[in-house]
């Protein structure tokens, strides 16, 4: 290394590292520490209480409800988003000219991508406001007028504790599918055409080229998407906070962990307890990422 380059390296790292240490690393580290205390967040005095917060958490009915809701979202959102995005990407790619072996898109390909991707550029509160009005619970609500016309009857949507969470889930799916469609579509067009041509010469149908060629070659992308969507499902704060009454919905039907952390930390004066919830959330994220990346690992296919 040339003379003077250490000083250069230090000068480039100093400010960003300081910012990162103060605003990211230190709060994360503090959260682990506070999770072992009874700090209120208001008074500077607090005591070390060991694992008491975590013991209380196991009996906390609201938190357990929140955890359960997060788990439902965690299963439903990645599964349905990836499934829908794959189906749409498949239809976009192979619904078109048949002899082009799967990479030539349908007509209007560009328009569909333009439309599907739109929710991705809108902020979550904007989406939440739009859908909470669409899903107005009265008979004249936008969605209800349509379902009634179609003979499906009307629904209370977010006001019905049995389905409120699924309404939130729907909005998450609605907002995410377009992004993953474009992502999968980009990955699909990266697959060389001759692979499909070779398969079709050998007599493979469209559907089997999709399952035998496209999906295996997209596996890395699907895996990464799953982890991103899982992190999204474990948060869900913005949608729930804006869309649902309370917030948290009737009978805590849309309660999620992030909302509990915010309520305990800032409203109820139980910052230590909220930090313990944060620690639980952290380990859950870590486990899911590790499991998804390990359990679904396959040999990487180079092409």
């Amino acid at each position: 290394m040339r003379h003077g380059s250490y000083r250069f390296v230090a000068s480039f790292l100093a400010i960003p590292l300081a910012l990162y240490a103060i605003f990211v690393i230190s709060p994360f580290a503090q959260a682990f520490y506070y999770s072992l205390t009874n700090w209120t967040g208001v008074s500077p005095k607090f005591e070390f209480v060991g694992l008491d917060n975590f013991k209380t958490l196991t009996h906390d009915a609201v938190f357990r409800k929140a955890l359960g809701n997060n788990v439902i979202l965690l299963i439903g959102v990645p599964l349905l988003v990836i499934l829908l995005a794959l189906i749409f990407a498949y239809l976009l790619n192979v619904g078109g000219r048949s002899n082009s072996a799967g990479v030539q898109g349908v007509r209007g390909n560009g328009f569909y991508k333009l439309a599907f991707f739109l929710p991705q550029v809108l902020s979550v509160p904007v989406i939440a406001v739009i859908w909470s009005v669409v899903m107005t619970s009265t008979d004249n609500g936008l969605a209800n007028t349509v379902t009634r016309k179609l003979g499906l009857g009307t629904s209370q949507f977010l006001a019905n504790p049995d389905i409120a969470l699924y309404c939130v889930m729907w909005v998450m799916i609605w907002g995410s599918v377009g992004f993953y469609l474009v992502l999968f579509n980009a990955a699909m067009s990266g697959i060389p055409k001759d692979i499909f041509e070779a398969a079709i010469i050998d007599g493979a149908s469209r559907l089997s080229t999709f399952f035998r060629i496209t999906i295996p070659l997209l596996w890395d992308t699907i895996q990464t998407s799953w982890v991103y969507l899982a992190i999204l499902a474990l948060d869900a704060y913005a949608l729930v906070a804006v869309m649902t009454a309370g917030p948290g919905g009737p009978d805590n039907s849309t309660q999620v962990m992030a909302l509990q952390i915010a309520d305990n930390g800032f409203k109820f004066g139980r910052a230590g307890y909220a930090s313990a919830m944060g620690v639980v959330l952290f380990f859950l994220t870590l486990i899911i990422a590790a499991v998804m990346l390990r359990a679904t690992r396959r040999d990487r296919i180079e092409y």
Binding site: M1, S5, F8, F12, L13, I15, P16, L17, L19, F23, V24, I25, Q30, A31, Y34, I87, L91, L92, G95, G96, S98, N99, V106, R107, G108, Y112, L114, A115, F116, F117, L118, Q120, V121, L122, S123, V124, P125, V126, V129, V134, T136, N140, G141, L142, T145, V182, L183, A186, E197, I201, G203, T224, I231, D235, A238, A241, S275, G278, L281, T285
Partner: protein, 298 residues
């Protein structure tokens, strides 16, 4: 030669089997009709709520929740927009613009500085610092949110521009560093070495040689950061309650409209929040899509 003819022959035969009607009628094949039906259905689901809410910004509350919410407004109430502006949307918009302009500039500058140093210079602790940043992508913000509030409070920066800007930069760094690190690694080293041999300082080499070469990467991650920071909601709702940014202001307005029952104004505010990003998106949608998805795949 024979083989080639054979292959061609099989291919056209195969195409014929799938579509016996021939090239002219291909677009009416059952598969195609099915594809378009499904794709159009989802397009409607995406576009209609969006367009409806734009039209609702010119309606009265009665028309939004009345007998027929699908009806065109009897009278276009442009007044909704001035009412929304007076309710603070103008201020929220200004707050968002200030915070995002400085936040993205700082993120790109510091992010690429760190990424460059980590990608191109060998020094003790290099890997450690890299993993420190990379780990930041995995941590849920909600783990940090309570202590973060008190950190920002101790600096006296709750509800200030500088507080939000610094926090935005800090939380955007992990991804920016990660992405730009990979990008700098793909650039050739010879040009930077030539510049150093010619007597340019390390700093000059970075700003004059490497940054211009990294433009495509900067563009991708820049789009990602602009949208991410513009749409940020969680951080400002806790750290800037008195100086709301646009997305937060929308949520607050929804809360107050439940009592005031003036939904036209709320939708006007929504339109003000949506239109800038949507117009930019419609103009640059190829770059936006490529930028966001490319950034995720790295």
């Amino acid at each position: 030669m024979t083989l080639q003819i054979d292959v061609e022959g099989t291919r056209s035969e195969d195409a014929l089997q799938v579509h016996p009607v021939g090239a002219k009628d291909r677009s009416f094949s059952p598969v195609n009709v099915f594809s378009h039906t499904v794709l159009i259905a989802w397009s409607i689901l995406v576009v209609v709520p969006f367009v409806w809410s734009l039209i609702a910004s010119l309606k009265s509350t009665g028309e939004i929740f009345g007998e027929n919410p699908w009806a065109w407004p009897k009278e276009l109430l442009w007044d909704n927009f001035s009412k929304a502006w007076d309710k603070g949307v103008g201020d929220y918009l200004a707050n968002s613009v200030v915070v995002v302009v400085f936040g993205v500039f700082g993120t790109m500058l510091f992010g690429s500085m760190v990424a460059y140093v980590l990608a191109r210079y060998d020094f003790p602790g290099n890997r450690f610092i890299y993993y420190l940043f990379a780990a930041g992508m995995m941590f849920p913000v909600f783990l940090a949110i309570v202590p973060l509030f008190f950190v920002v409070q101790n600096f006296g920066m709750i509800s200030t521009y500088q507080g939000l800007i610094l926090v935005y930069i800090a939380y955007s760094l992990p991804f920016t560093v990660f992405f730009m690190h990979a990008f700098f690694r793909t650039l050739p080293t010879s040009i930077a070495e030539a510049a150093l041999v010619d007597g340019a300082s390390h700093t000059t080499t970075f700003f004059r040689v490497m940054l211009p070469m990294a433009k495509p990467g900067l563009l991708s991650v820049g789009i990602f950061n602009i949208l991410g920071q513009w749409n940020q909601f969680v951080l400002p709702s806790f750290l800037s309650p008195e100086k709301p940014v646009l997305s937060q202001g929308i949520a607050t307005l929804l809360g107050s409209q439940r009592y005031e029952n003036d939904w036209g104004t709320l939708f006007a505010a929504l339109a003000i929040a949506m239109l800038p990003v949507v117009v930019v998106y419609l103009i640059f949608y190829r770059q936006v899509q490529a930028g966001l998805t490319g950034a995720t795949l790295k």
